[in-house]
Symmetry: C2
Subunit: 469 residues, 2 copies
């Protein structure tokens, strides 16, 4: 009987475990997870903090008991793997003060990522949070709950601490204008906090197109979120607790700070075992997610994946890739070698009453490095037939290779419910298949007045780009 050992019990790990066991019920599948939570939807944490989800338990798609009893997976929570010995094909784990050794035939390293702690003075002060784990989510929700229960909402005219009409708790600071920063701005503002968001670069959501970034920035401003661009945070000042965010230009008083400046892969365990990292700093794998060490796989937020446009390894730690690659590894280990596919760098975000998505390569430098001659156009179009009673605006940005027209990337933003995110599905396909933008313009996309204009905004954008290249 063969043993498949998995280090890390979240998306990649549990997808691999489930698929391997389903495909080969004779396989012994052992999962070591440091914490108590497995297979949880960390992407839901902002909505838990916001209060739209009532329990952390709601974020768990399959419970440890279900994995053990229904799926016959030997899931060991509270087990911290401290060593991998590829020669002996064993892993060593600590559990309740003792250690144990487990042999494996195949191994998956799915150790995930940790929140980046940028080198900011005072980042260890009380009241400074990150949002990477379920525990982080719990702490933040408790902070919000405490703030809410400390007396009634301050009134707008109650004092100088309250700059904005509608946001009267806090003030609180968010360091970083990526997904987490934007989603947490919504979560905190919805709880009547005065929110200050600091972005080091010149725009938020920098992976999206400039047009999308600007649309979201404008919208945040309308929602009374103070957005500071080009604002590198030098210090989180205070005593025991944080009291102010300091940039070169400003000193903004705050009661709490959320640091959301991205994640980096947890690779120490792999490195110690001689598993190679790629240039991105995450674990390098082949198309089957196998590392340089035979029968040792890596997937999820600790691993690289190849980009569907450039073919180059990239580090894009997102949930779908973790699930997909975990599942592919499970299938491979169970006997059917399976590639999990590359990544397109696709991402979606809700920002208050906007929705946005991006895919592929938008950055011109990145495109040129891959041998393309990029051009980018943005159009703005009605989301539904002009005469239809509902509707809004969709902005579509397309980046293509000028000589060939090959679709390289896209970015969309619309009012929430007006379809920017689901429309991005069309662009993911075009980017993945290397479709020429002129051919995309000829796609026979669905049309009816309640859903779009005769030429869907995606087609209009493609038509415009094709006309200009």
């Amino acid at each position: 009987m063969s043993t498949f050992v998995i280090v890390g019990g979240d998306a990649a790990g549990m997808s691999a475990a489930s698929k391997a066991k389903r495909d080969d019920p004779d396989l012994d599948v052992v999962v070591f997870e440091r914490g108590e939570w497995v297979s949880y939807g960390a992407c839901g944490l902002p909505y838990y903090v916001k209060g739209e989800i009532q329990s952390l338990q709601d974020l768990v798609s399959v419970t440890p008991e279900e994995f053990r009893e229904e799926r016959d997976i030997d899931l060991r929570t509270g087990h911290d793997v401290v060593g991998i010995d590829p020669d002996d094909r064993t892993v060593t784990a600590r559990h309740e003060g003792g250690t144990l050794t487990q042999s494996y035939d195949s191994l998956l390293v799915a150790t995930g990522a940790r929140a980046v702690e940028p080198p900011i003075d005072g980042i260890d002060r009380e009241g400074v949070y990150t949002l990477g784990s379920m525990a982080d989510g719990k702490e933040l929700r408790e902070y919000v709950a405490r703030a809410r229960s400390e007396g009634d909402l301050q009134q707008p005219d109650s004092g100088p601490a309250c700059q904005f009409l509608e946001t009267c708790r806090g003030p609180v600071g968010i360091v970083g204008g990526g997904y987490i920063g934007v989603e947490m701005a919504e979560a905190l503002a919805a709880n009547d906090f005065e929110v200050h968001l600091f972005q080091r670069g010149d725009r938020i959501l920098k992976q999206f197109s400039e047009a999308t970034s600007e649309a979201v920035r404008e919208h945040l401003a309308k929602q009374d979120v103070a957005v500071y661009l080009g604002a590198a945070v030098n210090e989180l000042a205070g005593g025991d607790a944080v009291e102010a965010v300091l940039t070169d230009e400003e000193r903004v008083p705050v009661e709490m700070v959320l640091v959301g400046t991205g994640v980096r892969p947890r690779t120490e365990l792999a490195e110690d075992a001689g598993i190679e990292l790629g240039e991105t700093g995450a674990i390098a794998t082949d198309a089957y997610r196998e590392t340089n060490v035979s029968d040792v796989y890596a997937a999820g937020d600790c691993a690289e994946a190849e980009h569907v446009v450039t073919g180059e390894p990239v580090y894009v730690p997102l949930a779908l890739t973790a699930n997909r690659h975990g599942r592919a590894i499970g299938q491979t280990v169970a006997g059917t070698p399976t590639e999990g596919g590359g990544v397109a760098g696709t991402a979606a975000v809700k920002a208050f009453e906007l929705e946005a998505a991006r895919t592929g390569v938008l950055d011109h430098e990145e495109a040129r490095a891959a041998g393309f001659d990029p051009m980018t156009e943005t159009i703005s179009a009605k989301s539904r037939a002009g005469y239809y009673p509902e509707g809004g605006t969709v902005n579509v940005t397309l980046t293509v290779d000028r000589p060939s027209g090959r679709m390289l990337g896209g970015s969309l933003v619309s009012e929430y419910g007006e379809g920017a995110v689901h429309r991005s599905h069309a662009l993911v396909g075009a980017v993945t298949e290397g479709v020429a933008v002129g051919d995309l313009a000829n796609y026979d996309l669905a049309y009816a007045p309640p859903f779009n204009t005769t030429w869907d905004p995606v087609l209009t954008a493609a038509k415009v780009v094709e006309g200009k290249r």
Copy 2:
């Protein structure tokens, strides 16, 4: 100076006129339109009848004056073209009792379609309507307005004519369960009519998957629309005015009947000029939409187009194709030969609080005729993260070629707003590019909890099909 003459001033005609003139301002562009309306959104008529759009004028995207003054197009409304002479390169038109002859260098036949009048006894009775033209829309709206103003809404307990709790005007009958039938059921029910819908075949929306048809049928029933399947209508009985719909099984009293049994191409003018029709009965063209007669093009609801999956000519008279092919012809006539692309048979419909879309080849017989070995699977999945406060269900049907996995077609249905239609964009791409379903399952589609589950329903469907083939 060259002259481009266009017969028919709706989607295909005006798209061609606008594009040709924009690309070559020296071109003389002459459009003959029988009626007074040009460039109107006939797809919006059900919403005009429903009352959500206030004026027919709202359906007009560009007015005749704008075409004439801003786009410098010689648009002649009220001109009925009665003959084309390809040898002389002239067309003859009737206008206000006289006739005129116009020479052309290039000609576009964009004569559109007419509503099919099925051979039903009594179809000429008063109170029997179709919905193809702006005039039809006006008559139907007037009918609804008259019915609404004739006293207050009857109460549910007012008599045997009122079978349903909420629908108490009429009763009215709809013959045909296609888009028009379904959209008009919504429009009439929203105006408190008791609606009876008769479908000759065994399901409504027969171009969609069986799962989609059944979901919509169930939903119509919940909305108190009486749907009769396998119900060929033999007679619309009555005196001067229609009084009842007669099938083999039933005699259903009605005050009004809408016949929505599809359209057929208006080809008489073309046929008389020696322009060849295809097997579908619509005008045959090449990839540039040129007919067998040199410099004579055809596009829109009077013409065929090649299917992107089978390569075979099909007749799918829909708005986007008319616009796209018209535009391509305009570009060709202005000097840049341009193919307008094939059709995927994509369509979308809103049915009360559902939305549905379909694309490609779903019918197994059609697939087999094209050399495929089709298989079909339907899955049902959550439209958003299970823990997210909003959300519903998306049903996805995929049809693929079993040996190769090639995507042949897809059909989706969800609650209105839960994204079946925009998600279909991904399937159009996959069908058009001939993507294998296993590759589709590996697409890096956008994910965030407010928009989908980690595996979007489209991916889940692809995964399931790939696993079963």
